[in-house]
């Protein structure tokens, strides 16, 4: 099961979706085609924003670090942050903004507690470089990595409820020791 399939299953048909860091708009396109869910993407990168227009996906070229001032309170059913959390400088204000604008937030991120990452640090003694984390430490858009435990602690601190969680490795759900064996975490949370 892919992340996109997971998210599509979670959202109800016809719901309004905002996808933060939407890339070329593939997920929004998928949600439109499978769930008839209209939405908007936010993307800062020029080439990706143009790709969205090419893919006939509504895109707004805005900087997430500036917050979500363009969006009214409770104007979306779901606000999605797909594999972008680790590239944000200030997670806390953005998470709060997501749940101001949306009824629920869907957040996915590469799990830094995944065993392959742990081994690279613990045994090889260097920052992890892998399929999920393809960047060298000195040349990466990622600034704040976290694990499942870290993310759930942040939700606790912000008073957010975790409604659902799916942990994946190679598109397979992981149920045993997910913080160790899961490479990608997908959460659905509410205020």
């Amino acid at each position: 099961m892919t992340e996109a399939e997971t998210i599509a299953r979670w959202i109800s048909p016809g719901s309004r979706v905002l996808d933060l860091g939407c890339g070329d708009g593939k997920l929004l396109r998928h949600l439109w085609l499978t769930r008839q869910a209209p939405g908007y993407g936010v993307e800062i990168d020029d080439a990706k924003a143009i790709a969205c227009i090419h893919n006939d996906v509504n895109v707004l070229q805005l900087d997430l670090e500036d917050g979500l001032a363009a969006f009214a309170d409770s104007s979306f059913d779901y606000v999605i942050l797909s594999e972008t959390l680790q590239a944000i400088h200030r997670q806390e204000p953005l998470m709060k903004e997501m749940l101001r604008v949306g009824r629920e937030a869907i957040v996915s991120f590469p799990n830094f507690g995944y065993w392959k990452a742990r081994i690279q640090i613990a045994l090889a003694g260097h920052m992890p470089v892998s399929k999920e984390l393809p960047y060298q430490w000195y040349d990466t858009p990622n600034v704040h990595h976290c694990t499942l435990v870290d993310f759930e602690a942040l939700c606790d601190k912000l008073g957010f409820k975790v409604l659902e969680r799916l942990v994946l490795t190679d598109a397979q759900p992981v149920f045993l020791l997910p913080n160790l064996f899961g490479s990608l975490a997908v959460y659905r949370v509410s205020a």
């Binding site: 908007y40 227009i53 104007s75």
Partner: protein, 368 residues
């Protein structure tokens, strides 16, 4: 692409926002490409302050006179005239062929001059709707413009919601700021205090308020360029070997502004300049909605593409974001691009590859 300017004449009076009535009027226009059988591929281009209906191509008898948006519009260009039927039009009150202050007043047979009424963006759009009727176009695939042209593209979606499928709004503002109005007022004062202005009745005196027009254009030009672009282009380069310690031209930028002012004053009409800047000042689609832009956009039915340039300080990206916010509040289909081309407000006329790629992709998705 060789094009021929045309004129359409409208004899039914046009009631203007001010309450004045234009008993009859003409609109100068050009078309590029072919209207398809379903009449579904028409795109209206609206121009900004000093441009005209000559959007693209050249004239058979004037091959150097290239349209002002020729890089954007034509066969194989982002707005592809092999696919779309594109219309350039000159708004009323202008001085390039449509009825304006230099046209004869039917009541007197003499040029309207100072008696030509003040027109608004809404009036321009109403006149353009007559042109659309004349050309047999019920619904535009898109209405598109930059700057003041963008205000018209926006207003089309508000005045005639059912007649616009896509509104393409570039380098726009939903309404002028106090600073924008201030620059316009300085330009108008420059013209109106020119001794050759004669209260707007300068045609019959056989003079032109050249000094006022020059200064108006110089002020305008400063606001069209970014500080960086101006520094990049002119820097502090001197036109003479050493400073003259007098008031002749020292710096390259002085020479450039004087040249732009001189050129402008040979072809642009002062009465038109006053009216266009007033149309800009007055434009405020939220005025009838208690200042609430979101309420004002509630009647729009079009899809929108909004593009701003981060180096534009005349109509900054923040102003375009106000438009986007109001469209989002109404759940319109909208995309918004913030382009970091360095030129300032004038960037909308330049061929930045990302800007052009975005428009090419957008037009490519408009079904005909």
């Amino acid at each position: 692409m060789i094009v021929t300017p045309q004129k359409a004449r409208f004899t039914e009076p046009l009631r203007l926002t001010s309450g004045a009535v234009l008993p009859e009027f003409e609109i100068a226009y050009e078309t590029y490409g072919e209207l398809n059988a379903a009449r579904s591929n028409a795109v209206l281009i609206c121009h900004a302050l000093n441009a005209s209906h000559h959007v693209a191509g050249t004239y058979a008898n004037d091959p150097d006179n290239v349209g002002w948006w020729d890089n954007m519009v034509g066969p194989g260009k982002p707005l592809d005239t092999d696919r779309f039927f594109v219309i350039g039009n000159n708004y009323i009150g202008s001085c390039f062929g449509s009825t304006g202050p230099t046209s004869p007043n039917p009541a007197t047979g003499k040029p309207w001059g100072a008696d030509f009424p003040v027109v608004t963006v809404e009036d321009w759009v109403a006149a353009q709707a007559r042109l659309a009727d004349h050309l047999g176009i019920e619904r535009f695939a898109a209405v598109m413009g930059g700057s003041l042209g963008a205000m018209q593209a926006l207003q089309w979606a508000l005045s005639y919601p059912a007649r616009v499928r896509n509104s393409i709004v570039i380098a726009a503002t939903p309404r002028l700021s106090a600073q924008n109005i201030a620059f316009n007022e300085v330009a108008r004062q420059a013209i109106m205090t020119d001794p050759d202005f004669h209260g707007g009745h300068y045609y019959e005196k056989g003079v032109v308020p050249v000094r006022g027009l020059r200064i108006a254009r110089m002020i305008g030009h400063i606001t069209y360029l970014s500080d960086d672009a101006m520094m990049e282009k002119f820097g502090r380069v001197l036109r003479r070997v050493t400073p003259g310690f007098d008031f002749n031209i020292d710096f390259e930028i002085e020479s450039y502004l004087r040249h732009q002012g001189d050129k402008f004053s040979t072809y642009f009409d002062a009465n038109t300049y006053l009216r266009i800047t007033k149309a800009l000042d007055y434009y405020d689609p939220a005025a009838d909605f208690g200042g609430d832009l979101s309420k004002s956009f509630a009647r729009a039915q079009a899809d929108f593409l909004v593009i701003s340039f981060t180096s534009d300080w005349r109509f900054s990206s923040a102003r375009s974001r106000e438009i986007v916010r109001a469209l989002l509040d109404n759940r319109r289909v909208v995309s918004y691009l913030e382009n970091d081309a360095p030129q300032g407000h004038d960037a909308f006329l330049m061929d930045d590859p990302r800007y052009f790629a975005a428009l090419r992709a957008y037009f490519g998705n408009i079904a005909l």
